[in-house]
């Protein structure tokens, strides 16, 4: 039964051209696909294999390649196989198409990604600020944003080095007896 489902899913996936399928384990498939074909893949999987559940969209910043990697995690209650669809989008100008019309929860994930990475999704219902409503700096999850530098520029530190701590350090540290 399980095998037949996997074969059936494999046939569905092969209907799309220029797709790279990597079966990580029995219940996990990694799919690499071009950004043009990704909405079609989600649509096809939703209609033909019961992939109704978009768990999340994650984003990875690849500054050396000047690309964002988007990973769409989708789950089917019929095949019980998780598909992670990977696609790479150019960082400049940083636009991609929304999949809100296929999976409604995508609206939240896309809004979050726009806030944290600055990748804009065209067609998403709301691209307003989400969590960082009072943040005016650059998107903080970009690798180019140096958090530590920002912290040292913005905040001061409190020194705390009492005698008892110095004694413990002099003994070589460890647990206080």
């Amino acid at each position: 039964m399980k095998e037949s489902k996997a074969i059936w899913l494999d046939n569905v996936l092969h209907e799309i051209e220029s797709i790279h399928i990597d079966s990580k384990s029995e219940r996990r498939i990694r799919v690499d696909i071009s950004p043009d074909a990704l909405p079609a893949l989600l649509e096809l999987l939703k209609g033909r294999a019961g992939y109704l559940h978009l768990s999340s969209i994650s984003c990875v910043d690849w500054p050396d390649d000047d690309e964002f990697e988007l990973v769409y995690h989708i789950w089917s209650y019929e095949t019980n196989i998780l598909i992670s669809a990977h696609t790479r989008v150019s960082r400049n100008p940083g636009f991609y198409i929304s999949v809100y019309d296929i999976h409604t929860p995508a609206g939240f994930f896309e809004r979050d990604i726009y806030e944290m990475f600055g990748l804009f999704f065209e067609g998403s219902p709301n691209m307003e600020k989400f969590i960082l409503t009072e943040w005016n700096g650059p998107p903080p999850m970009l690798k180019s944003f140096d958090t530590e530098k920002f912290v040292h520029e913005t905040f001061d530190w409190k020194d705390y080095n009492p005698d008892w701590l110095q004694e413990i350090v002099a003994k070589g540290g460890g647990i206080v007896e």
Binding site: L132, T133, E134, W135, N136, G137, P140, F145, T147, E148, F150, V151, T154, F155, D156, W157, K158, Y160
Partner: protein, 250 residues
């Protein structure tokens, strides 16, 4: 029409601080120390639990460690609370709300920072969104360090604060009024120059007789444009003129 001056005008009552200056003698001293004793034995906590240290408070409050036997119990509103208990991790967004809450509390008020995060950012020291030292933005009476401190430590800290209040040494809330310019400057550094709260702290400082050298300064000068001065209630208009409504005449 009656003259406006014929009717009494409601004026704010003189602050406690004004009265205590005129007190003298052994009898008054006895009353004051009795008041301090009572104050230190009925402390109401407003716990601002956005950090993970909040999980140590339920055992401290309930039957296992039983905070209430010391006269310490939770309170629901800032206006009725004595202690603002901040349990760890303060993000910049949260800090704004903490300052709003703190300014709503009535003096004398005390702030306790629990966990390492309020001391120096703790494990979030590298985070762009976390405020590091709480006492830069508010006067903190006591830090209870640890990640997280056990309920025993929380109780120990509260008992130390109790002794501090009883001896009259817990006066850091006055520092907020006396050095408001310093605190506001730090807040503006984080939130931007247009930061202001609905509470008129300067007017309150004047009311409590706590206007110090550092109350007014270049940072508080920015507040001028947001300031809405207290207006006396004009009873003549209230008494004699019919209430105006926006409803159309029929």
């Amino acid at each position: 029409m009656t003259e406006k001056n014929e009717l009494p005008v409601i004026r704010p009552a003189a602050g406690d601080a004004c009265q205590s200056e005129s007190r003298s003698g052994l009898f008054q001293h006895a009353i004051d120390s009795f008041v301090e004793f009572c104050r230190s034995r009925s402390m109401f906590i407003l716990h601002y639990c956005t950090g993970c240290g909040a999980i140590e408070l339920p055992p401290a409050m309930t039957s296992r460690f039983d905070m209430e036997r010391l006269g310490i119990s939770p309170m629901v509103t800032p206006r009725q609370a004595d202690i603002l208990l901040i349990t760890g991790y303060v993000s910049i967004k949260t800090l704004k709300r903490i300052i709003l809450t703190y300014e709503q509390m009535q003096g004398p008020k005390y702030v306790i920072g629990i966990c390492s995060c309020t001391v120096n950012g703790g494990m979030y020291w590298q985070s762009y969104a976390t405020a590091k030292q709480l006492n830069e933005y508010l006067p903190v009476d006591m830090y209870i360090a640890g990640c997280m401190p056990r309920p025993e430590a929380v109780l120990e800290g509260l008992m130390q604060l109790r002794d501090k209040i009883e001896s009259g040494a817990a006066t850091s809330w006055e520092d907020y009024f006396k050095r408001y310019d310093h605190y506001l400057g730090k807040q503006q550094h984080l939130f931007g120059k247009d930061w202001h709260t609905p509470t008129d702290v300067i007017e309150e400082a004047r009311h409590y007789n706590l206007l110090g050298e550092g109350t007014l300064g270049e940072n508080t000068a920015v507040l001028e444009k947001y300031l809405r001065h207290h207006q006396e209630l004009d009873l003549t208009r209230v008494a004699l003129e019919p209430a105006k409504t926006n409803l159309p005449d029929r």
